[in-house]
Amino acid sequence: MTTETYADLIAAEDVLLFVNAAVTATGQREFHSGAGHQQLSLDFLHAYVRINYRRVYAASLALDINDHNAVRIVRGLLEHAADASAEERRTEGRLIAARLAKLPPQRVYRLFRELRAAKVNNRRTRAIMRDWLAARPDPAHDAVKYRAGLKTAARHAHLRLDGGTAPDGELGAFLFRPGKLPRYEHRLLDAWRRAHYEQGAVDELPFTVAEGFAARHGMKREAFVARMVPRMTRLERLRTQGRRTVADPAELPGGVDLTVMPLTRLALYVLSLEREARGRHRAELVPALRASARRAAGPHAGSWGRVAAVLDDSYSSSGSGEKRRRPLAVALACHFLLEALAAPGACVPLWTSGARDPLLVGPSGPTPLGTRILDALGHGPERLVIVSDGWDNAPPGLAGEVLRVWRTRLDPDRRTAVVHVNPVYDAAGFDVRRLSPSVPTAGIRDAEDLPALVEIAQFSEGRTGPAELHAYLDRQVARFVDDGRPGGAR
């Protein structure tokens, strides 16, 4: 610690603070704070980190931060390009390109629209837009599905829209001179033209576009959705399921292989079902969750030894209208993930409400974290994982006290590794809420990131220094940029 100055330590702390926020915060309403409050808080953090630690700000793109913050960072970097040196800009450009390639297209199109509104039109921005659009697999599909977005991007970056799968000039005519061509050569573009007056053409379009036309033609919703099933994405299938199968709401959606869904998504889907339906489909849901968890655990599976988990299913885990049951879904996903990570049969999951059946959990009751942590420690685990929003209230602060006494008196040589992961951003504190300074806390959005987060969480305990933190960030950046490069290892 002799070589590190006090400023270094503070810098390291700021970085972790920002990473936690960028993982958890989405500027949406949470259980405890409103959307406006969240956005103000996030605005400040972004400006603060961008101005003071620009290199780290860009490097966060390589971490498992959420899409909302990734887009904000990209925008911040492009808007304030003048603050960076030439070499920094080169790294940033590579990071941005790699990140945009991973983002869902609708988010990228929205980013382009924001850049246009903010009048950001430097050479680098245009190049980034050009490259991203060139990498899209089917521009005609984008032209139909994200018509306004593609139009704005093309107009803003002065792009020529030839090349790709559509014949020359057709895409430009489709977007900017509608009605000029009597028909289009490309199948999808022509289907869009015909769908205006022909019901048969509606079925050839992507689901979200077809939905609008179907409503316009007054087509029967159920019949239309049933016909569209093969053309829907997996999430669209799940989303329409409740409305579609009016005849039999008890059935799980046909044609969706639940086992290949990402773990947290699957947990959210399970929690969206009625409790009674979950019980009935136990035979499908539990194996799907297990399979998904095993995939998420990957090489770490079975390597964590004896694990105890304290999972928060108190009332506050119901999230908000905008993030419905998100904290509870993360806890549920962690339940199965930890089962996969621990040695076989050596995982003790404890829900705060005392629930025994993970499939039937629901958000209710207070948060007696302290008592549950005591129960968990009673099992003598090698690792204790706490998944909670940090609002410990029965009684308040007991969890922190228990952990402090445990660390200082009962387990001073750290035989048990304790980590707290928190799915909720606390707008007032500019960070996720902590339980105790002696226990590392990390923000979490998707349970799949748990193994990576445990690594980051070590830094927040203050036992590993800023130098290691920066080395870690550099490693992540190098890996991320290589992965994102075409031809690189995917």
Partner: protein, 377 residues
């Protein structure tokens, strides 16, 4: 019976939101044989309540409670239930307009073993009707009007829960305990209201109604200007005995017990230690509905009026209180002293330890000016 006893209810750790502190009260097992439901009334405009022959008052009344001691708590229809014709002839109405209510009496027996009453209005009416008759003897100091009509119709202002700052958020983020049957609401760490129901199921349904209740002027001001209150944080002292997990667990248990004890003796003392004047409103089988008034003593901290349902052993099954403001306590005190002295001004002045002139000034200041003869001013 002159005291409130919250037997069978234990306080669990408080949950704090800004200046509001909510203390959950948990029952080991629910009170048998009594359930409470809610009846929703039209929300637009005031409602009229007939309190006696040719006497009525108007007030905002969002809901009434229905006490059901028939033992078949599940029988009542849920609010929002719609009636439809058999076999689907004629679609049921999409919305139902709530009728404007003209309530007959504050507490009214309903078919079956049920009683509808207006929460807090019952208590407030008891306070407003305090010595309503005025002087019984024609002492020459009292105006003709006071002798004929008694105290002129009085009105009191109260604030709705919505306008108590932070209360809405505090109730929204509150995490209801299993078995919870009540709550104590504190604003800036003064007791604003206590609310107890017989059954946890009832509490779950009635928890949101706290936002529509009446709160005194003082509560509103405390919530508005008070700073956020500190959270009670558990502290485990580093004793020499703390070497095993069992010892740590015992220390944690001790923290919970300490809080419950501290709450009853420190926070809720003013509610539980006062003696009250109880007035029976209605008797329903083994249960009795009472309303109570505080002794109106000066310098005794907060004083509460309220209503309660007790069973045959005096155990509280239902309780709702309203904290009086200082001015309201002063008014009650003054009326009591006047009545004690048989409304003779010189005697009352003596009892209060002041002169007659000061007493007149106090009566005028309390808003009872019309009682005094103008010649005497």
């Amino acid at each position: 019976m002159n005291r409130l006893e919250l037997n069978g209810l234990t306080a669990r750790p408080a949950q704090v939101w800004g200046g509001i502190r909510l203390v959950p009260l948990v029952r080991e097992k629910p009170v048998e044989g009594l359930r409470l439901h809610r009846e929703v009334y039209a929300a637009d405009g005031p409602a009229v309540v007939e309190v006696g022959p040719r006497a009525h008052y108007t007030s905002y009344i969002p809901h009434g409670f229905v006490a059901d001691w028939s033992g078949e708590g599940a029988r009542s229809a849920t609010y929002g239930t719609q009636l439809a014709g058999p076999g689907g002839e004629g679609a049921p109405p999409r919305t139902m307009k709530l009728p404007r209510h003209r309530h007959h009496r504050l507490a009214k027996r309903q078919p079956g073993d049920r009683l509808r009453f207006l929460p807090l209005h019952l208590a407030l009416e008891g306070y407003l009707a305090l010595h309503f008759g005025g002087p019984s003897t024609a002492w020459e100091e009292w105006s003709r009007r006071a002798l004929r009509d008694g105290l002129s119709p009085r009105g009191e202002d109260a604030y709705m829960g919505w306008s108590v700052r932070g209360l809405g958020d505090a109730l929204r983020t509150f995490e209801i305990h299993p078995g919870q049957c009540g709550v104590m609401v504190y604003a800036a760490d003064t007791l604003a209201a206590a609310f107890v129901v017989p059954h946890p199921g009832d509490y779950r349904l009635l928890h949101p109604t706290l936002i529509e209740d009446l709160y005194g002027e003082l509560v509103h001001q405390y919530a508005m200007y008070g700073a956020p209150v500190p959270e009670f944080g558990a502290r485990i002292a580093d004793g020499p005995g703390l070497r095993t997990l069992a010892a740590l667990r015992a220390a944690a248990r001790e923290q919970e017990r300490e809080w419950a004890e501290a709450h009853d003796t420190l926070f809720a003392r003013e509610l539980l230690d006062s003696s009250y004047g109880f007035e029976r409103v209605y008797r329903m089988g083994a249960f009795t509905l009472w309303r109570f008034l505080p002794p109106f003593l000066r310098d005794r901290g907060g004083q509460h009026i309220g209503e309660t349902i007790t069973d045959h052993k005096g155990q509280v099954a239902y309780l709702k209180t309203f904290r009086l403001s200082e001015a309201q306590v002063r008014r009650g005190h003054l009326l009591h002293r006047l009545d004690d002295a048989d409304w003779r001004l010189p005697l009352a002045a003596q009892a209060l330890g002041t002169g007659e002139k000061e007493l007149r000034a106090r009566i005028r200041a309390a808003g009872f000016e019309s009682l005094l003869r103008h010649r005497e001013l």
